[in-house]
Amino acid sequence: MTLFLSYLINGISLGSVYAIIALGYTMVYGIAKMLNFAHGDVIMVGAYVSFCAIQYLNLPPWVSVILAMILCTALGVIIEGLAYKPLRQAPSLAVLITAIGMSYLLQNSALLIWGANPKSFPSVVNIGNISLLDGRLLITGVTIVTILANIVIMVALTLFTGRTKMGKAMRAVSEDKGAAELMGINVNTTISVTFAIGSALAAVAGVLLCSAYPTLMPTTGSMPGIKAFTAAVFGGIGSIPGAMIGGILLGIIEILGKAYISTELGDAFVFAVLIIVLLFRPSGLFGKNVREKV
């Protein structure tokens, strides 16, 4: 029972990281209607920035996180402006390939800058572990911080999209771009802000991911990126609570699947659950079912 509980907590922790990444995917998809494949690599860049800040500049961990967020935000806005903005009217497949090109570009730049050797990421969390049930259940500091960060981000984003002017503009653009423009909303700025928020979240996710699994390589971001993308689809792409729930469920499924069924088939299990869910709810758990009109 305690073993199950500890797996469950690990799952929620991993799922929280997926959820934070998935939020970036889902917001960008909701607004720009594009799959941003480079998102996973922004995570990796964020983790490297934080790593360098701690290792070479000897900055305190929380400063390194803020630095990573600032640089990733800038990176996200630059990527959007250079590669995606000129393709606003282009077919979605062209944008997808550009995003894949961007992902290769980031990975190979990282390879040139930081080399192929994996770096051992120092944990940015210096909170002690908590042991419960007479020490049989150990919760690490990283787990607590990850889950807390997830909750804070969720609440902040919900308030942001619901209450602020920019948040409302975002919802309007994702509903109907043309109508939003007619109402005087600056669509380009709104999309840029969305990329900025998504990339800042990616930086946080990168730092949290590498604190829990401390090997940092240029390809670190791609698998969590794909899984977070799966989580976003799982919850219904475009929906913020969907990304959250989808991410956490995916993390739990992955850890439990690896623990109880087979270590080698853990990933296969995650994707199999996704397929089964999509068969019964073709637009995800929280997705809106859009009816096709002639």
Binding site: Y29, L35, A83, P86, L87, Q89, A90, P91, L93, A94, L96, I97, T98, I100, G101, M102, Y104, L105, Q107, N108, S109, L111, L112, S222, I226, F229, T230, V233, I237, S262, E264, L265, D267, A268, F271, A272, L274, I275, L278, L279, P282, S283, G284, E292, V294
Partner: protein, 346 residues
Amino acid sequence: MSKKTIDKLLTFGMVIAAFIVCQVMIANGAMSRSLRGQLIPICVYIVMAVSLNLTVGISGELSLGHAGFMSVGAFSGVVMAMWLKNGLGVSNTLICLSAALVTGGLFAGIAGVLIGIPVLRLRGDYLAIVTLAFGEIIRNVMNCIYISIEGSSLHFGFVNPKLPGKLLVNGPAGATGVAKMSTFVMGFVLVMITLLVVLNLIDSRSGRAIMAIRDSRIAAESVGLNVTKYKMMAFVTSAVLAGMAGALYGLNFSTITASKFKFDTSILVLVFVVLGGIGNIRGSIIAATLLTVLPELLRAFSDYRMLVYAIVLILVMLATNNPTLRTFFSGLKPGKKSSAAKEGKQ
């Protein structure tokens, strides 16, 4: 002759001419060793690109898991070939290789049917993510399969079993000790078969139905076309061809692991299709050839070649899809003006 027939003959002629040139160069020793090593992979990627173009371009479904079918084909083909050679003592390489290709195609086709049933119910990005998911599942499952040969019988096992005889497929370590049977001539034959199948399918009644469904599903349904049947037809044909290509690829190396067929491979093939022009078969052939050779030619840049590749990819997409840039480029070439204007009107 109609324009379509000429177009088809041009595609076949191009491939045959390229094959003859290559053969002459090999005979004269004019081809470098590294390029000669690329010939079979080029054939494999041409078949992969053309078959994916059938799904993405002709049937209009974005598939991100094409390497999965290649993987199924590679493993089943390798097992078949090695079983014939070591288990049953068939010494004729051509028979082993042909049997491997047929088996690879058959198993990939079965996988295509199984995957197609759930996948083709979905639309757009959801379909894309499910094909991606299936690609990853196939890779994971392949990592857990163990097959051994004992005498003339095959033994199968799953997740760390104890198998009698000589281990052929060893889970994550993949298939080892494979006899390199693939030949360039076989690659050429496979490319020709693929072109024959795909071009004739496009030009047939079924092909027109598939394209009608791509252009408007509702309209096609309302004139009585069986949407699932035609979509399945395109998807499974594409899977079978990818499986055959996989078998050829598998028998080109002495070891083959499931990690060779990951998400990146699917994306690589998709890039061939998109850069060659979606729905354009000849474009796929040219793009697959050039982009397979290009990284080899860029060897001099070694560390920078993937970076250059990425930048080229982004720039090509921007140049071909951005309206401002496109009018700029068409302004440079007076002959192209009319076609750009036509596209603008559509």
